[in-house]
Amino acid sequence: MSEATAQPLTMAKAINAGLRRALENDTKTVLMGEDIGRLGGVFRVTDGLQKDFGERRVIDTPLAESSIVGAAIGMAMRGYRPVVEIQFDGFVYVAFDQIVSQLAKMHARSAGQVKVPITIRLPYGGGIGAVEHHSESPEAYFAHTAGLRVVTPSNPVDAFHLVQQAITSDDPVVFLEPKRRYWDKAEVDEGAAPALPMQSARVVRTGGDATLVSYGPMVRTCLEAAAAAEADGTSIEVVDLRSLAPLDVDTVAASVQRTGRCVVAHEASTFLGIAAEVAAAVTELCFFDLEAPVLRVGGFHAPYPPSRLENHYLPDLDRVLDAVDRTLAY
């Protein structure tokens, strides 16, 4: 086992460390994907792992995402615990059928006799100035799909633990990596136990005037918004969902019951986005506590624009605060 000492790691390196742990802890863990071997992945998240664990454990695959997931299902049936990398969000749709028809349903249809403990690692979201199909936020597709779990870290510490929790889970997990936060750094204590189970949300900042709910790449934006609001005398509580399916609505509801106001922010189109579910669920749980409707801030219902426009598409601190202002004005 690796030495357990706290050290500052980027999120990319924290995931790498988590994968390394998983490979060390269970010889049945295998990594599969395009360019994950010698290259270490286009974001270097798997850097060095093929060198250390060999080509049988870290498998460079043909360029065929549907079969990457399909083959992983077969390997899982054979007793392996595959961790699949899809290179970018926009390339996961090719594998959608294997994920939705096969992976998500296998446990149910076999009445629990076939487990498919597969983790699908998926860098997602915009904000890196990329070309088309490299800035998608497909989380709602997976969260809506019964049989899948969906989690996403917002920081290196959670990334380190969540990826391992995803891998050891006996359910298929879509592990969404907020690619524009890959280079965010934090102190990661590799020896520490995870502070929370995989499916729990976390209050990352306490406050009394409104609850700001987000996940993945937008958590940092929300924390910055909360800090800015504090200067204006508004106290905002920020909840990092961490798990998108299932949603830890109790943690959100507990916060909203205190603040009476709720804003949900994400990059994806708000129309049927995670914010819609949070709004519907929170309103049901907190109907008499709410001073204002749950407001949503997110992407517009248009295909992701060319990168020179993405700063308009992606909600930023100002748009988040605008929504907070609107909810406070109710």
Binding site: G70, M75, R78, G79, K105, Q113, V114
Partner: protein, 364 residues
């Protein structure tokens, strides 16, 4: 074995003619004992009986649907009996004959078509994966399973089944690539029954399907799919070479779907009775029966006993199907996830309370 590069369209491996004559094939020698021959015939007869009974049960409303295998018994029994216990088979929705060879109780299959389960057997116990309905999805899975065998240094192989229609799906072709690139121990067994529901073979390919393998760098063989011996011999050899590390192969079993696509289908809308009649002369059971007769391997008692056994089996299915337990409501929630899931638990609780409400109302 070199990749065959020439094969006139109408040649295939045949070891037993429609008239019941045993012929030799230098590439695919096969020794079959008399006992084995009788056992194969028994398989064919019982599998056909299961199929007929299931079809009848569907007509009587006991099943929602049935996908008939009529005409494809030899292909399935030949392939199925070539598998060894350590091997793994990945079926479509029509491989009742393979299921038989893998000791899956036909009654379990009926459950699936009755709607009491979406599976019903343990794939690990039987070396037989669950049925797959989305065309082609099983193929990449089969290759992944074979890659797992490779990693385990297992002396086993995978056989994956699909149809002529399925050969057009991206996943099936991707699986050819993976099998080839990883040299995975997998045999692709394509039952070319000439139809994909109403679409004839010409809608899926303009060359014989076994030649598809040439584009991927592994052998393709066409076999008389109505000849159980040929299917057995070719499957056995291809499986063995896969087990020995020689990589994948494609077997095209050239056969015919004598029935409808499923009990919901009406083939009179799209095909000629005369075609069906022509194929009836190549019946997969008749030729074995002729052979057994001619070789005097059996007497009339044998056929009578087999008929009785078939009748007993059918009777067991008839009574069994009616007493297949409906699944409990809990099953729906229970198996959605392997580990506790807050949303599903909440929904289960709510729904349980809701149902209990009715019980209370009923009690009033």
């Amino acid at each position: 074995m070199a990749i065959p590069t020439h094969a006139p369209d109408d040649t295939f491996v045949q070891l037993l003619t429609p008239e019941g004559e045993r012929v030799d094939n230098a590439d695919f020698p096969l020794e079959v004992s008399d006992d084995q021959m009788r056992a194969l015939y028994r398989d064919l007869v019982l599998v056909r009986r299961v199929d007929a009974e299931a079809t009848a049960l569907q007509r009587q409303g006991e099943l929602g649907l049935w996908a008939q295998l009529l005409g494809q018994e030899a292909a399935q029994v030949g392939a199925g009996r070539a598998l060894l216990p350590g091997d793994m088979a990945f079926p479509t929705y029509r491989e009742h004959g393979v299921a038989w060879c893998r000791d899956v109780d036909p009654l379990t299959l009926l459950g699936l078509f009755r709607g009491t389960t979406n599976g019903g057997w343990n794939p690990h116990d039987h070396g037989f994966a669950l049925y797959t309905i989305v065309i082609g999805d099983q193929c990449p899975q089969a290759v992944g399973y074979a890659m797992g065998m490779q990693q385990d240094d297992a002396d086993s192989a995978v056989m994956v089944f699909f149809g002529d229609g399925a050969s057009s799906q991206g996943d099936v072709n991707e699986s050819f690539i993976w099998a080839s690139v990883f040299n995975a121990p997998v045999v692709f067994f394509c039952q070319n029954n000439q139809w994909a529901i109403s679409e004839p073979l010409e809608r899926q390919t303009r060359i014989p399907l076994f030649q598809r393998a040439w584009g991927f760098g592994f052998p393709g063989v066409r076999v008389d799919g109505n000849d159980v011996l040929a299917c057995l011999a070719v499957s056995r050899q291809m499986l063995q070479r896969a087990r020995e590390g020689a990589g994948p192969a494609l077997v095209e079993a050239f056969t015919y779907r004598m029935g409808a696509h499923t009990t919901s289908d009406d083939p009179t809308r799209y095909r000629l009775d005369t075609d069906v009649e022509a194929w009836r002369l190549r019946d997969p059971l008749e030729r074995v029966r002729s052979f057994l007769h001619k070789q005097q391997l059996v007497d009339d008692d044998y056929f009578a006993e087999l008929d009785a056994e078939a009748e007993q089996l059918a009777e067991r299915l008839r009574t069994g199907v009616r007493s297949l337990p409906d699944p409990g409501v809990d099953a729906m929630f229970e198996h959605a996830y392997a580990e506790p899931h807050s949303l599903v638990e909440r929904q289960r609780d709510q729904y349980t309370r809701y149902l209990a409400g009715f019980a209370i109302e009923d009690a009033r």
